[in-house]
Amino acid sequence: MKKFLFILIIACSTGVFSSAQTKDPLVASCVMDIGDGAKYLKDFRVQLGKGTGTEDLRYKAHMSLWKSTKYRFTLCNDESSKGQLIINIRNENNDVVASSYDAKTGKIYPYIDFVCNRSGIYQLCFDFYEGESGLGVGVVSMIR
């Protein structure tokens, strides 16, 4: 919260939020939620209409992840979002190596800490739970 206030004060005093190139407030607030010690790397803004809920996760992106690094994937939803953002991380063999949704328990986790031991290009697949429409952000950060 302290950090959020600080960046808000700095941003307001320098006119960032009033400039033409305003930072996406959803991304900015999600970055504030990544936790102490986490270092921001990338963000993925996901906006989807209603799907069937039976298809693969619809928003796909690639990202290189490196061995001996602990990544955090934080998922945030816009207040107006009907659905809850989920993520699957797939390796180069298309195997799911991590998922924020546990099909057995039905639990959706707000973040995944992924201890990477295989360097490679991974596929990050996002969607809203049960193919619902929504707006959300996935922020990738490093913990160590």
Binding site: A11, V31, S64, T69, I112, S119, I121
Partner: protein
């Protein structure tokens, strides 16, 4: 006759099976064949594919973070201090320099070297304005965050996000060649930093990270390939990337399989990957990579 016919039928089947098994093995990373994407078709890569490749390339702060984690002390000697923003005349020079200094800024920010990073910000501002993308860089905010050392995550976010916005803007406005230059500059400077440090601090994790760059090098070359015939400077750059690729050819990356292990912790999910990648790289191969990286980087800095 029937026996011969049977043998003739079985041999191709056996060969086919063996080949399939070989291709499914997936335990060794090799560069895709040079002709897998004909050069004539490289220019037809979709905007989405280019955007995807651009996002693949590792962030410069990852190398800096690794150095910090390994407790490698900061050294200004690794920075591209000889690169003068005022001397960059063409858009090519400016975009490449913007990438190189972006990686240096990540290194400075990570080590909280605020005094130097403020100077570097001025150079970055000049370069960004030189290619008409200065509006995406929140210089004052970044400068203030840089001076205040308590907000490293906000500083990293604003710095990286500014670069991401520049990259997206350039690609969306048919100036993808400048975006490619920026990305190549960032990667090259990060690789230069890692290879210089490993000479003084031969840590196995850092050594592996250098060898693992083979994984994304081909994407980087693919990104540049679209513009190789654009002008002589780009042609040289494509040649330099090929030189780097040659140094990586014999580096082997193998994989061991394993199922990820998950556990719930503090409301989140912690997943530990048990499959691993293993880099096989001789001292000679590493030496060649260090040498070619330095040669290319120095050429580009001097050209600038």
């Amino acid at each position: 006759m029937k026996g011969k016919l049977l043998i003739l039928l079985i041999i191709p089947l056996f060969i086919t099976y063996s080949c399939k098994n070989g291709s499914r093995k997936n335990d060794d990373f090799v560069f895709p064949e040079n002709d897998s994407i004909p050069l004539s078709e490289v220019g037809m890569l979709s905007k989405e594919a280019i955007a995807d490749i651009s996002k693949n390339i590792a962030s410069p702060v990852e190398i800096a973070n690794l150095l910090l984690m390994l407790e490698v002390p900061f050294s200004p000697s690794y920075l591209a201090s000889g690169l003068d923003a005022n001397q960059q005349s063409t858009a090519y020079d400016k975009a490449l320099a913007l990438g190189i200094l972006g990686a240096d800024l990540g290194y400075l920010n990570m080590y909280e070297m605020t005094g130097t990073s403020v100077d570097m910000l001025s150079s970055i501002k000049k370069l960004a304005e030189g290619i008409n993308v200065g509006q995406f860089f929140d210089f004052e905010t970044i400068k203030n965050l840089s001076i205040n050392k308590d907000n490293l995550d906000s500083l990293l976010y604003l710095s990286i996000d500014s670069y991401n916005q520049i990259d997206e803007y350039l690609r969306a406005n048919d100036r993808g060649h400048l975006s490619a230059l920026m990305i190549i500059g960032v990667w090259l400077e990060g690789q230069y930093l890692a290879t210089q440090v490993v000479s003084d601090y031969p840590d196995p994790i850092l050594r592996d990270r250098i060898g693992e760059q083979k994984i994304i090098l081909n994407d980087l070359i693919l990104l540049a390939s679209q513009y190789c015939d654009r002008d002589p400077q780009f042609k040289d750059l494509c040649g330099y990337l090929e030189d780097i690729k040659k140094a990586f050819l014999e580096v082997k990356i193998t994989y061991t399989l394993g199922e990820p292990v998950s556990e719930e912790r503090n409301g989140g999910l912690v997943v530990t990957q048990t499959e691993t990648s293993v880099v096989e790289m001789t001292d000679q191969q590493l030496g060649d990579i260090i040498a070619v990286t330095k040669t290319v980087r120095d050429k580009l800095i001097t050209n600038n």
